[in-house]
């Protein structure tokens, strides 16, 4: 059985420096030989691979704790250094300490009262849990100033640190032994003023006399195919240290000349330095025989692939899958289509009980190749057994309560689905599995907005929760339908996009009637028991209106009034009598008037969706979305919808008008320039004349383009596919249409007309000093007409700016996101309603200062008074 999971609480963490005593205490053996293995391949005792340091070979047992490889965490050993060496990481601190303490008596070079003053300041800061490093810096500064010891009167000399580890006092060189002696002399009482804790970090411990040898488990050797052993970089470095250490000792004992001793000492210092950090500036990095610099301790921790960023913050996981996504409108919004191959690989653990043992047997019997089967069983003793064709029957028989069956993923399982970048919480949501053929993850297009996904090759990740707790959390908190409302703006983030909107727009527009056959075809996918009364009977045949059909998907108690996306924004709203059918009224779940468009069911804007989630809950909303999207697809297929080059065709008359508009605009621009050249132009307030003329030209040309667009729009008519899409909010805008059919308009770089280029002109095709519309990037033609070479080039200039902008923005927003998350990650709304950080400090007394959960708010506002009033007074419809 697995180890009982009793959570342990960490009381506190203390940081300190390992003292020589501590190092020896935790060491299981002293390491004296640089050799690792003997000729028979057995580790040498008191060598770097001493069996007491832990085991890495499977099958062997640790000589210290008796556990097997994988269980034994490893044990430290130690090397007794023949002479002390400076720890590179502390060289700077050591310098500060030497400078601020007396070279003779070792006391902090401050008068008692000064010391007391600083100590008090530090203590108060400590009490208030505030950082006090600035005070310590002041202590160092003050103490360094004294040229003579205030305690014993000894004259102080200048300490120079020659990077990385050599200390000089004036001209005289300090050996690590000298340094250590001085540090030893610093009394405990003075240490607090320097911000050190004598209990856990005596300064002399920064000079190493004993070196801990990390367990073999953290520097495993690899056996190559040739049977040759290849040691870890750390082991190599330790070998160097031991060798030099030995040589040093031998030489000293043999009474070698001082020069040789010093050289060896320096060599030892070099090896210890590079063992700790192989990227110290000023020290040539220690290299492997192949010339590759060794990866030593600091290199293991540092950087993107280091322990912190690479292995702790960024772990890899099992039970996950990644592949390309593609759309499937037949899926429910809460479903995700999982390829069969993926489903066969991913598993869910099932605890076998007397109640489900038969079911479990069935899974095991089906084996790994027969889809809803099982891949592994876990016996009560913890052994994991792979199910194969040969042993599946046997295992099924052996199955008993207490076993765990790792069952393959099947329909209905809850899984987490994610797309990077995970910028908000809706980037990971829980879906239900639908196992499908082929190789892509399938999802309903309505959930594209929260993931910000499209199908141009996007890939997504899928994770299978492995415990009941995780599954419950996923179902309750992360399920798609619980995330229809975005906490970003308090409206639905899941909703109709593109063709869904077009489909419903076509369906509910005007009063289109559908015959019984057509109606049936449209509602085929809805879960209906009966059709409402037909709105018209002609020649004995029954007809239903599009609005009626749409109403079938609405909850019966829904009441709503709003202005649709197609609303022209008339000065006085005629409401129900709107001639554009842009005022939507829903009464008792019946669409009375108005057209359904982006404002009704679109993601971000969908009012109907919003109302349904808030009034009827996510379950109903999810159902509504399923129904309405299916209806929309049927609808758009009924009408048929396409867009082609001939949809941009406008009659000759329109083209003439547009050309006229542009010509007139160009003339006006020419006049403006003339006025500017003659100095007759009045500058606008706060602007220079140059800016004024530019501004006026830009306005003139923008106006011309808008007018051209208007003309084109007039001739294209409301049934044009592009117009339908633009008006209903499904895709594109009237501006896009204008550019396609009428006039592309002014190209700009950073908000200005195109000015850069050759001296005095943009392109050599123009005269020097030409400020005219065409010379500065006005594209008078439409995409349909085709651009002239210069126009094309200006368009490329303008287009490039957009491209650069997107590229630069994405990287900047990513960084901003990281910083925000770093700053906010620990904030939490506590049960008393306050927002506090990790230390319990109150950040806000009430969340957001108003206590409103934005996901439950009305587009960011706490309540919609008008809606409540109308609901209570008159049940929506005509409630005023």
């Amino acid at each position: 059985m697995p180890i009982p999971l009793t959570p342990k609480r960490i009381e506190s963490i203390k940081f300190g420096i390992l003292s020589p005593r501590e190092i020896r205490r935790m060491s299981v053996t002293k390491i004296i030989t640089a050799d690792t293995y003997d000729d028979d391949g057995f580790p040498i005792e008191m060598g770097l691979m001493d069996p007491r340091l832990g085991v890495i070979d499977p099958g062997l047992r640790c000589k210290t704790c008796g556990q097997k490889a994988g269980e034994c965490p490893g044990h430290f050993g130690h090397i007794e250094l023949a002479a002390p060496v400076i720890h590179v990481g502390y060289a700077k601190v050591i310098k500060k300490l030497l400078e601020s303490t007396c070279r003779k008596c070792g006391r902090l070079n401050l008068r008692e009262e000064e010391k007391k003053r600083f100590l008090e300041q530090i203590r108060t800061r400590k009490e208030m849990d505030l950082p006090y490093d600035d005070i310590i810096n002041r202590v160092f500064k003050e103490a360094k100033k004294e040229k003579v010891c205030v305690h014993c009167g000894e004259e102080q000399k200048e300490i120079i640190l020659e990077k990385p580890t050599t200390f000089y006092e004036g001209e005289h060189r300090l050996t690590p032994t000298d340094v250590r002696e001085r540090l030893e002399r610093i009394p405990d009482d003075d240490l607090e003023v320097i911000g050190m804790d004598p209990e856990n970090a005596r300064p002399e411990w920064m000079v190493l006399t004993v070196l801990p040898v990390p367990p073999v488990t953290m520097r495993p050797s690899i056996t190559l195919e040739s049977g040759q052993r290849s040691e870890d970089d750390l082991t190599h470095k330790l070998v160097d240290i031991i060798r030099i250490n030995q040589r040093f000792q031998e030489n000293r004992e043999a009474g070698a000349p001082q020069l040789i001793i010093e050289d060896l000492w320096e060599l030892l210092q070099y090896h210890v330095t590079t063992y700790l950090d192989n990227e110290v500036s000023g020290v040539p990095p220690a290299r492997h025989r192949s010339g590759r610099p060794l990866k030593t301790l600091a290199q293991r921790l540092k950087g993107k692939e280091g322990r912190f960023r690479g292995s702790l913050s960024g772990k890899r996981v099992n039970f996950s899958a990644r592949t390309v996504i593609s759309p499937d409108p037949c899926l429910r919004i809460s479903e995700v289509g999982v390829p069969l191959e993926v489903a066969k690989e991913l598993t869910v653990p099932i605890y076998v009980t007397p109640r489900n043992i038969d079911e479990c047997r069935e899974y095991v019997r089906r084996g790994p190749d027969n889809h809803p089967g099982a891949n592994y069983v876990k016996r009560p003793d913890g052994r994991r057994v792979k199910i194969t064709e040969n042993n599946k029957e046997e295992l099924a028989e052996m199955l008993a309560p207490g076993w765990i069956v790792e069952r393959q993923l099947k329909d209905g399982d809850i899984v987490l689905f994610n797309r990077q970048p995970s910028l908000h919480r809706m980037s990971i949501m829980a879906h239900e599995v639908r196992v499908l053929p082929y190789k892509t993850f399938r999802l309903n297009p309505t959930v594209c907005p929260p993931y910000n996904a499209d199908f141009d090759g996007d890939e997504m990740n899928l994770h299978v929760p492995q415990t009941e707790e995780a599954r419950a959390e996923a179902r309750i908190l992360m399920h798609i339908q619980e995330n229809i409302l975005s906490p970003r703006f308090g409206g639905p983030i899941i909703g109709g996009i593109h063709d869904y909107i077009t489909g419903l727009y076509l369906l509910t527009r005007k009063n289109i009637l559908f015959s019984e056959e057509e109606t049936m075809e449209l509602v085929r996918n809805l879960d209906l028991r009966a059709l409402p009364d037909p709105c018209e009977i002609k020649n004995g045949r029954r007809y239903w209106s599009g609005k009626q059909i749409f109403s079938l998907t609405l909850p019966k108690e829904l009441n709503l009034r709003y202005q649709a996306e197609i609303c022209r924004g008339c000065e006085i709203c005629k409401e129900e009598n709107c001639e554009y059918d842009a005022f939507v009224v829903i009464k008792d779940g019946e669409l009375i008037c108005g057209t359904i468009d982006e404002k009704g069911i679109g993601a971000f804007k969908g009012k109907i969706l919003d109302a349904i989630v808030k009034k009827f809950g996510s379950e109903v909303a999810s159902k509504f979305l399923d129904d309405v999207t299916r209806l929309a697809i049927r609808s758009i297929m009924h009408f048929g919808f396409s867009f082609g080059i001939d949809d941009e065709d406008i009659p000759r008359e329109a083209r003439r008008q547009i050309a006229d508009v542009i010509k007139k605009a160009e003339e006006r621009v020419a006049r403006l320039i003339e006025a500017y050249v003659n100095g007759e132009l009045e500058p606008l307030p706060g602007r220079t004349i140059e800016e004024t003329v530019e501004l006026k030209i830009m306005q003139e040309l923008a106006k011309a383009r808008d007018m051209a667009g208007e003309i084109a729009g007039r001739y294209l008519g409301p049934d044009n596919s592009a117009v339908v899409m633009a008006v209903s909010g499904a895709r594109g805008s009237m501006l896009n249409l204008t550019q396609m059919a009428a006039c592309v308009g002014q190209q700009s770089v950073r908000g200005e007309r195109i000015n850069r280029g050759y001296h005095g002109r943009t392109l050599p095709h123009f005269k020097i000093g030409d400020l005219g519309a065409r010379a500065r990037g006005f594209v008078s033609r439409s995409y349909k007409d085709g651009l002239s070479p210069t126009e094309f080039f200006f368009h490329a200039i303008g287009g490039r700016e957009g491209l650069v902008d997107t590229a630069v923005r994405t990287s900047q927003s990513g960084y901003l996101q990281r910083r925000l998350i770093n700053a906010l990650q620990d904030l939490e709304v506590k049960y008393d309603g306050t927002v506090r950080d990790a230390r319990g400090t109150i950040v806000q007394f009430v969340y957001g200062e108003d206590g409103i959960d934005p996901a439950r708010s009305d587009y960011g506002k706490s309540i919609n008074v008008k809606e409540i009033v109308s609901e209570i007074l008159g049940e929506g419809g005509d409630g005023k």
Binding site: F793, A807, V808
Partner: protein
């Protein structure tokens, strides 16, 4: 109207696709190699009165040396299939001269040079389509790349700010807007940035390698413009600029050339003996200041006049007579092609070989062996130094990504890769202006093809019909100068000055 497409088709043929690479490499083979050798001229040694004289360099055709020592011509496809490097031997005429006596003279093999496919030395040069097919080549393959250990590698065309050209711009200095004139002076692979700046008191200061901010007047005095009038005239005769110059002269620290040299000596060799200071100052002036004008004593006056032009540019900017120079203007850009890059590489590799030869000769002499060219050359030194950067893309000078694996996703991607132009600007900074499509790129750089993402606008592609011009050789410039003198140009006093500008 004339069907321009026919014209375009006739002009832009498949040979044109990588022509720029091939021509540039041919130029390197024919002139660049010899130029580098001539720069070195001889290898001096520490053995008394002994040096090695260098003569003509020859390039063979690509060969392969088999394990048994057999040498045979090789065609690119064999190199690709057998993971070999498509390279030729380099032969250099060398002579050891001791006490003015020639001890040994040989045409020695100094190493191997990778050969660009379809360049003049390539074994495919001048073959017809049928012959190409017979050699295992695709006749539509444009060439222009190298084959290193079997992989096809392209040298990227690098776009750089034009060297030896004066650029004026505004700069922030402690909150003040000041005018600076900059020049990247370049000669033989050595690059030196020279900056003339006008500080807020209108005093000019000059910075160049190893000297940080020296008074302008001091510097030009040290260069030989001693009299006030000369100094002013070397800058401008515009009354307003003259006024600025008079202010400068008023503030001058020194009166004579000698004083000025010593003043600079104090900067470059502080605390040294006077004699040494003088020597050092002159050395710095000759070697580090505007190296493109020469490194001899006679070039000093030219340098002073060049500085005068920089000063004038500064003042003109300050007076609003001219605007800042547009660094993105394509007239201010130079493209470094495969040949130029190979020249840089060969220069460094060859100097390393020269040092090795010197070392080997000295060692031989120490051991009292006879000096011999063949034993002194370790040809691997050069070969290794050339092939390694080509294989990894880590060029001399710390540039990375210079050589890239030829993109063969499809034919068009290969063509695009061969015509790619890379800007050395860092991709992590926005550099909005540098990424913009500049109007001067019309006809030179494709307006449409650039990657999306962090490299947008920094990685470009040559336009279809672009024609690259190559810089002139020094002796050709000499002809132009002579012509100008014939037309009545007055040389500035001091002989051959000013004309190199």
């Amino acid at each position: 109207m004339l069907d321009r497409r026919a014209l375009s088709k006739a002009y832009f043929t498949k040979e044109k696709i990588a022509q720029h690479h091939i021509e540039s490499f041919n130029e390197f083979l024919e002139r660049g190699l010899q130029k580098v050798i001539d720069e070195q001229k001889r290898i001096e040694t520490d053995i008394p009165d002994t040096y090695v004289e260098l003569g003509k360099i020859y390039v063979g055709n690509p060969t392969v040396v088999e394990a048994d020592g057999l040498e045979a011509p090789i065609y690119p496809n064999e190199a690709r299939l057998r993971n070999l490097t498509y390279k030729s031997f380099l032969y250099l005429e060398m002579a050891i001269i001791q006490n003015d006596e020639e001890i040994d003279r040989k045409v020695a093999n100094i190493g191997q040079l990778p050969i660009m496919v379809k360049s003049k030395k390539c074994n495919l040069y001048g073959l017809s389509d049928e012959e190409l097919i017979e050699k295992g080549e695709d006749p539509t393959d444009p060439g222009g790349y190298f084959i290193i250990n079997g992989s096809e590698r392209v040298l990227m065309t690098l776009e750089d700010l034009a060297p030896n050209k004066i650029f004026v711009e505004y700069e922030e200095r402690y909150g003040d807007k000041i005018e600076v004139a900059k020049v990247f002076s370049q000669r033989r692979g050595y690059r030196a940035l020279v900056v003339v700046e006008r500080n807020k008191n209108s005093i000019l200061e000059v910075s160049f390698p190893s000297v940080n901010k020296v008074n302008y007047v001091t510097l030009v005095r040290a260069l030989g413009l001693e009299y006030d009038q000369e100094i002013v005239e070397s800058v401008s005769d515009d009354p307003e600029i003259v006024k600025f110059m008079l202010e400068n002269l008023e503030e001058a620290e020194v009166e004579t050339t000698e004083e000025a040299i010593d003043e600079i000596g104090k900067k470059v060799a502080a605390g040294q003996a006077k004699e040494y200071r003088r020597k050092r100052a002159l050395y710095v002036l000759d070697k580090y200041l505007l190296p493109h004008l020469g490194d001899e004593e006679e070039d000093r006056l030219a340098k002073a006049h060049f500085l005068g032009r920089m000063a004038e540019a500064c003042f003109e900017l300050a007076l609003g007579r001219r605007g800042e120079d547009d660094k993105d203007h394509y007239a201010n850009k130079r493209l470094k092609l495969a040949g130029d890059l190979m020249e840089d590489l060969f220069r460094v590799a060859f100097s390393r070989l020269a040092r090795d030869i010197k070392y080997q000769l000295e060692r031989a002499s120490m051991r009292h062996r006879e000096l011999n060219i063949n034993t002194a050359i370790r040809s691997d030194v050069l070969t290794e130094r050339i092939i390694h950067p080509l294989a990894t893309g880590n060029w001399v000078g710390g540039r990375t990504g210079v050589s890239q694996l030829l993109d063969t996703t499809d034919y068009v991607s290969t063509l695009s890769h061969l015509r790619r132009v890379i800007s050395p600007l860092s991709r992590s900074q926005p550099h909005f202006e540098a990424r913009d499509l500049h109007a001067t790129q019309w006809g030179r750089i494709c307006p449409s093809e650039t990657p999306e993402g962090p490299n947008c606008g920094l990685v470009k592609n040559l336009a279809q019909m672009v024609e690259l011009s190559i810089g002139l050789e020094e002796n050709e410039v000499e002809n132009i100068r002579r012509e100008l003198l014939n037309l009545g140009m007055n040389p500035i006093r001091g002989g051959a000055i000013g004309w190199k500008l």
